[in-house]
């Protein structure tokens, strides 16, 4: 093996950026907490753009050099210490999430802004700190090179996400939050059980070291199964999705956007890390088909239930259940029968693009739905008549998000589905192509229902509760446009996703 000795265990130049990406949110949380009052908002609004800049620099670095960025924390190399690593996947996720965070921050400024001189207010204070926490947790999920560090990241994500659900303190949202918390705790404890068993077998939890040491053993299989079930519960993959719709639909709009766009992607990302990076040869044909079946069931079930919804936010939440399903189709499609390995090429690229395009589109749609709710005082789909004339920008943002979900060109959704369809052809698994196409059909149906109601004339003159600020509409529109134009990355840096993948794959081929 030529690269068996390349451990990725030396800090690279610019590695300090990785530390910054984690320390900055942590410092922001602590500072906001102690300063209180309006500082939480100010600190978040200053730091989040910085987060985008850092993510961009990391991305460009990885892209240009074609190498990982590595930072060895405390100068203790794995297995004793912890490494932070940015490969193509993590750099891409970080940039995409940073864009969503910035847009959400602009959007939330209207709902959670506090006036000059007013005392500390509960909801804004909590919201901004929790937003920074999710940002930090996502960075840690992307960069963490150690499965236990990733457990801490998962818990950060949980503790930040659950209070967001019930910020308004209504009984339904409290119930949704409690349910979400129980599912999430079950998920993380199962994940933790898996890490215990893996440590017991290999005395390391470092991803790169583990990928070199794992062997097909009972303990390893049990560990991987437990971790996967736990992560499925957190990702809300069918049939562990029950917590998602009430939680995502009940939260305030800005929070829904973050929860649906970002938080579920965190645990999905760990599923990818686990199966593509740590043990690409373990899933096997049957396992990858099972993942695909669950994904397909999620697509069909989520879409069908979405079609029956009376309320806009619930419809969008069920659509999230369906869209998560696509992410798991990559497993059967990435499975290479010849080497019995998951190949981190075509299908994985499609999956990551799907994750990003869903993140941007869904955040835009939740924001749009939130604006419609705020303007009308309700979100009953049947009574949306006239809203397209009253809030054209909002409805356009919603529609563009839908375009990406359906998968029309040139949207990111189109590119993702195109790549996945290509993979079905290449691997000869036509049945997944049917699922992908059926999902698109369902999505167009419920999008059509909503949009046809929105452009219809109102049955009675609309009474507006509030005037919707322009910049909120703009934030939603920008995200929707980002999702729409994501398809053009096909001309650009898609290959960045491969950075850092090749070597871990080659090593496990021994």
């Amino acid at each position: 093996m030529p690269d068996a000795n390349v451990l990725h265990d030396a800090t690279t130049t610019d590695g300090a950026l990785l530390v910054l990406a984690i320390v900055l949110p942590a410092a922001g949380i602590l500072l906001s907490f102690v300063l209180g009052g309006r500082y939480a908002e100010r600190i978040a609004l200053i730091l989040l753009p910085f987060g985008f800049v850092i993510a961009m620099i990391i991305f460009i670095d990885v892209w240009r050099s074609g190498h990982l960025l590595v930072y060895i924390v405390g100068d203790w190399k794995p297995p004793l210490g912890i490494a932070l690593r940015a490969d193509g996947l993590s750099a891409t996720m970080m940039v995409a999430m940073a864009i969503v965070f910035c847009a959400v921050a602009i959007f939330a400024y209207a709902d959670f802004g506090t006036r000059e001189g007013s005392a500390e207010v509960r909801a804004p204070f909590a919201f901004w700190i929790l937003l920074m926490a999710i940002w930090g947790a996502m960075n840690l999920v992307s960069l963490g090179g150690d499965l236990f560090t990733l457990y801490v990241a998962l818990e950060l994500l949980t503790f930040a996400a659950v209070p967001l659900v019930c910020l308004d303190g209504r009984a339904e949202t409290l119930q949704a939050a409690l349910r979400y918390l129980l599912f999430a705790l079950l998920g993380s404890i199962l994940y933790l059980a898996g890490t215990a068993l893996l440590y017991g077998s290999y005395a390391t939890l470092d991803i790169v070291l583990l990928s070199r040491r794992v062997e097909m053993e009972p303990a390893t299989l049990v560990a991987a199964t437990l971790m996967t079930i736990g992560l499925f519960a957190k990702t809300a993959l069918f049939p562990l999705h029950l917590w998602l719709p009430p939680a995502h639909a009940g939260a305030p709009a800005a929070a829904s956007a973050v929860l649906s766009a970002v938080v579920v992607k965190g645990s999905f990302f760990l599923v990818v890390r686990l199966w593509f990076d740590v043990m690409p040869g373990m899933l096997g044909s049957a396992g990858s088909q099972l993942f695909g079946v669950l994904g397909a069931a999620a697509i069909i079930f989520g879409s069908v239930v979405a079609l029956q919804q009376q309320r806009l936010k619930l419809l969008i939440a069920y659509s999230t259940v369906a869209q998560i399903g696509y992410l798991f189709l990559i497993f059967p499609l990435a499975f290479d029968a010849a080497s019995a390995q998951l190949q981190g090429t075509g299908a994985l690229t499609g999956g990551i693009i799907q994750a990003i395009s869903h993140a941007t589109a869904k955040a835009a749609m939740f924001m749009a739905a939130g604006l419609i709710y705020a303007a009308l005082g309700h979100d009953r789909i049947d009574d949306l008549g006239g809203i397209a004339r009253a809030l054209p920008m909002t409805v356009v943002a919603f529609a563009l998000g839908g375009v990406s979900l359906i998968g029309l060109p040139p949207s990111g959704g189109f590119l993702a589905k195109w790549i996945l369809l290509e993979a079905t052809v290449a691997t000869g698994q036509w049945w997944w192509a049917l699922v992908i196409l059926a999902g698109g059909l369902f999505t167009s149906c419920y999008m059509f229902i909503v949009l046809s109601r929105a452009v219809a004339p109102p049955s009675e003159p609309l009474k507006f509760q509030i005037v919707v600020p322009r910049y909120q509409e703009a934030a939603a529109l920008v995200l929707a446009l980002a999702s729409l134009l994501l398809g053009f990355v096909a001309l650009g840096p898609v290959d960045v996703l491969q950075v850092g993948r090749l070597d871990s794959m080659m090593v496990t081929l021994r």
Binding site: V73, L80, A126, E217
Partner: protein, 310 residues
């Protein structure tokens, strides 16, 4: 069978029996009491597994603090409406099968250890001298895996914020709804006057020996939290409102100092969360002292719950 293995078998049987009872009992109150007993038995199991640090943490947090939290909740929930019907039999059967499968899986994993059992213990010990610490667990927590420990403190702050955020808007910045039983001259007051001095000495001792022997910031912090709660419940000191400046500062002082020293390591040593050679031990002790205070405050406030009055 030797005496010690007979003891182990007895202990395991007791743990499983009490554990099963906490699940099976109909009365929530009885189940919670069972859980406290269970926590203490589990602490003994940790001693038998030669993990005294964990035993201390489990006894203090797993049994003590969690039990107290649960008891408070049961007392309040008693007033609630009678609860819903039991889960249907098919569901219970399906769940039973699932749980047997999971148990079997974990058991198989435990019964098939690798031929040579890998360990990091020698590596931990080899490098421990550099830091001047004597307790290998403290070495892992504050030297090798300091990042996890630091971030876990942030998790604690977030959890507290999450608990606080459940308060109604009108009482934000108010006083947590800890039940106070202030009756001057009562035995509780007596206990709250007598125990804290001892408790504080114990906490300081635990934090101090943590560098050399079992103990440390977590265990010391938990004892501090318990003493603080006792004094508050007895009404000897008022429950602080969550907006208090000193309280917020106390809560973050540990993580902030930890983070600060970590960042200084980028300049003074050669990496984030690395300690300059020769200064490792004093720096770690400083971090531990600050963390003990912050952890104590955070655990106490987590147990006290969200603000309920202004």
């Amino acid at each position: 069978m030797t005496i010690s293995s007979a003891f182990d078998v007895g202990l395991v049987v007791l743990i499983l029996a009490v554990g099963a009872a906490t699940i099976a009992m109909r009365e929530a109150f009885a189940a919670v009491i069972g859980y406290v007993v269970y926590g203490l038995l589990l602490a003994m199991a940790w001693v038998r597994l030669a993990a005294v640090d964990v035993a201390l943490t489990e006894a203090a947090i797993g049994g003590g603090m969690t039990g107290m939290l649960m008891l408070g909740a049961v007392a309040r929930l008693r007033l609630a409406e009678g609860n819903d019907i039991r889960t249907s039999l098919p569901v219970r059967l399906a769940a039973g099968v699932l749980c047997v499968l999971v148990t079997a899986g974990v058991a198989v994993a435990i019964l098939s250890p690798p031929k040579t059992i890998p360990t990091l213990a020698p590596m931990v010990m080899e490098n421990l001298a550099q830091s001047g610490l004597g307790n290998p667990v403290a070495g892992v927590l504050f030297v090798y895996r300091a990042l996890d420990t630091l971030l876990e403190k942030v998790v604690l702050i977030l959890a507290l914020l999450g608990v606080w955020s459940l308060a109604p808007d009108s009482v934000w910045g108010g006083i947590p709804g800890l039940r106070v039983y202030a009756r001057p001259g009562s035995t509780l007051t007596f206990l709250a006057q007598l125990l804290p001095p001892v408790g504080i000495v114990v906490a300081v001792y635990m934090c101090w020996v943590g560098a050399k022997e079992p103990g440390g910031a977590f265990q010391g912090g938990t004892v501090l939290a318990a003493m603080w709660l006792l004094v508050m419940i007895a009404g000897l000191t008022s429950v602080p409102s969550i907006g208090e400046r000193w309280l917020r500062r106390l809560l973050v002082v540990g993580p902030v100092i930890f983070l600060g020293i970590g960042l200084a390591g980028m300049v003074l040593a050669n990496a984030f969360l690395a300690y300059p050679p020769g200064y490792a031990k004093p720096l770690i002790v400083a971090v531990e002292v600050a963390l003990t205070l912050s952890i104590g405050a955070a655990l106490g406030l987590l147990a006290a719950g969200p603000p309920e009055r202004v």
